[in-house]
Amino acid sequence: MTNAGIWLRTLKVVFLSIFLAITIFPLYWIIITSFKMQKDIFSLPIQYWPKEFTLDNYIQIFKISHFQTYIFNSFLVSIVASFIVLIISMLGGYVLARFKFKGKGQVMGGFLITQIVPIFIGMAPLYMMMSKMQLVNHLFSLMLIYTVMLIPFCTIIMVGFFQRIPASLEEAAMIDGCSRISALFKVIVPVMLPGIMATLIFAFVQCWNELIMAVMFIDEESVKTIPVAMNSFIKKYDIEWGAMSAGTVLSVIPTMILFAFCQKYLVNGLTQGAVKG
């Protein structure tokens, strides 16, 4: 190896290590904070490794709030919304990828524009619509809003996935007597499973993480999702960092598990649409 080669390699290793440290440190910090005794959190010198480990903060958060309810609500909203998004965007994406018809360009353009315009402009009218439909403080409002917020992007992504699968595949199935819709589900879906998984997980994570709409539409204890609840802790307790860090860790865990298992799908699936060599 040349001198320059060795130098470059060292530089790379150093950069990768520093970068890893910086990425992990905040996560490390919130996790160990959640296991510290209350008195240790607010004392100097700061402990980089807790003197005593405790689960108090986790017990505390279930005591002072209905955290189990928030977790359940978050799961319910995210699962329902992401599955509905998946089905709707698959049907739409399939048609947009496979057929030529009048108005196709306008439909695609219409979806693309929603990615530029901040949905927050529509927040006030949306609130009025929801309150007319008696959906404020109802989980259904969030399911509905998350679904419509995600349909455009997921449909565009789906168009890309379908375009990468040769149309001859389902045509062969149709010649063999399949209807179009059963060809779609029996032949195409298995082939593009990675893309479907990517879209589903992406949608789930987006719903799981959403804050602003949730804060706008929910403030009743029984229907709070995790972000809404955590947001109200900020106001209520002037940030009790022990319970707050425990809540943060708990609400990151599902994302972490999904990401650990499906990172490859997610990363490949979502970049395929945008990156062309």
Binding site: A4, L8, F15, L16, P26, L27, W29, I30, T33, F42, P45, I46, I88, S89, L91, G92, R98, K100, F101, V107, G110, F111, T114, I116, V117, F120, I121, G122, M123, A124, L126, M129, I145, T147, V148, I151, P152, T155, Q163, A167, E171, V205, N209, I212, V215, P227, M230, W241, M244, T248, S251, V252, T255, M256, F259, Q263, K264, V275, K276, G277
Partner: protein, 316 residues
């Protein structure tokens, strides 16, 4: 890749000739049924509120004065622009977008370059450094809020230990530090996205190109400038464009870290808008801010596409 895609994707002219007159054939009904849910839902719950909201921008529309809704021309815009905070909000938005973007791009690019060649444990490494991308902005804001804490924050402690400062800084309580703090959190969050996109593009560069360059005696720097960069430029272009839109419309981190404070010093346009909806409940002015965002983004997009001359490759 591009060639292949076109061959693999014939639109089957025998079934649907191009520019077929729209008729309610079996196919037409199928198309309609498949697209209807997406179009109806998006029209009713995205387009309608956004259009209604845009109209509100020209109306006197506040929750405290609902009996008195009427058109007031550009008064909301005038009120927003002439408010004493507005200059700060715009300046913050520019910093927020461009400083975040610059560091996310440079670090993301460096990260992707370092990860291009396989090394032991790359899969796990990738899982760890890409993870922030899947986290919620709200939680990231909380975590950094705790780290930037003026009294018990770890960042103060580290800076004191390394001797960079002599006394703890109240990062989020002082206007001059608060904006820098939220931008740092945003950079931490966004590097992964750039790295993911750029890495995917890098991996589509055929190895033969580098091998050929090596034989011709090109050094690494030459390879970077004459192979790598030109090859991934379209990706960089799309990613930057998407990111600018997205960062400007991304209030979550600021919302949970400072909520625009201290005294409005960290508001950007999107948090300012949300503030006007949730706290002032002045829907007219909120919508005016929203339209200002749209105008800024549209002009940026036009300018950016013109300036970089990659329009043809810019589909995604």
């Amino acid at each position: 890749m591009k060639m292949e895609k076109q061959i693999l994707h014939p639109n089957n002219p025998s079934v649907q000739p191009e520019k077929a007159p729209f008729r309610f054939s079996k196919e037409g009904i199928f198309i309609l049924l498949c697209l209807a849910p997406a179009i109806v839902l998006v029209s009713v719950f995205v387009y309608y509120p956004i259009i209604k909201g845009s109209v509100m921008a020209f109306q006197n529309y506040t929750l405290f004065d609902l009996m008195n809704i009427h058109f007031i021309g550009l008064d909301n815009f005038k009120a927003v622009i002439s408010s004493p905070n507005f200059a700060t909000v715009v300046k913050n938005s520019v910093y927020w977008v461009f400083i975040s973007l610059f560091f996310q791009l440079v670090l993301g690019f460096a990260l992707a370059l370092s990860m291009r060649k396989h090394f032991k444990g790359r899969g796990i490494y990738q899982g760890l450094v890409f993870f922030p991308w899947a986290m919620s902005g709200f939680l990231i804001g909380l975590i950094w809020r705790w780290m930037f804490n003026g009294q018990f924050g770890v960042i103060n402690d580290l800076l004191l230990k390394t001797g960079l400062i002599d006394a703890p800084i109240a990062f989020l309580a002082e206007a001059k530090w608060a904006m820098a703090s939220v931008i740092i959190a945003n950079i931490w969050y966004g590097v992964a996205f750039f790295a993911i996109m750029i890495l995917a593009a890098l991996q589509s560069i055929p190895d033969e190109l580098y091998e050929a360059a090596e034989i011709d005696g090109a050094n690494k720097l030459h390879q970077l400038f004459y192979i790598t960069l030109p090859y991934i430029l379209p990706t960089l272009f799309i990613t930057v464009l998407l990111r600018v839109i997205w960062i400007l419309n991304f209030p979550d981190i600021i919302y949970s870290m400072t909520n625009g404070g201290p005294a409005g010093a960290t508001h950007i346009l999107s948090t300012y808008l949300i503030d006007k909806v949730m706290f002032e409940q002045n829907y007219g002015q909120a919508s005016a801010v929203g339209l200002i965002i749209v105008v800024i983004l549209l002009s940026f997009m036009v300018f950016f596409t013109k300036a970089s001359k990659f329009e043809k490759k810019g589909d995604f």
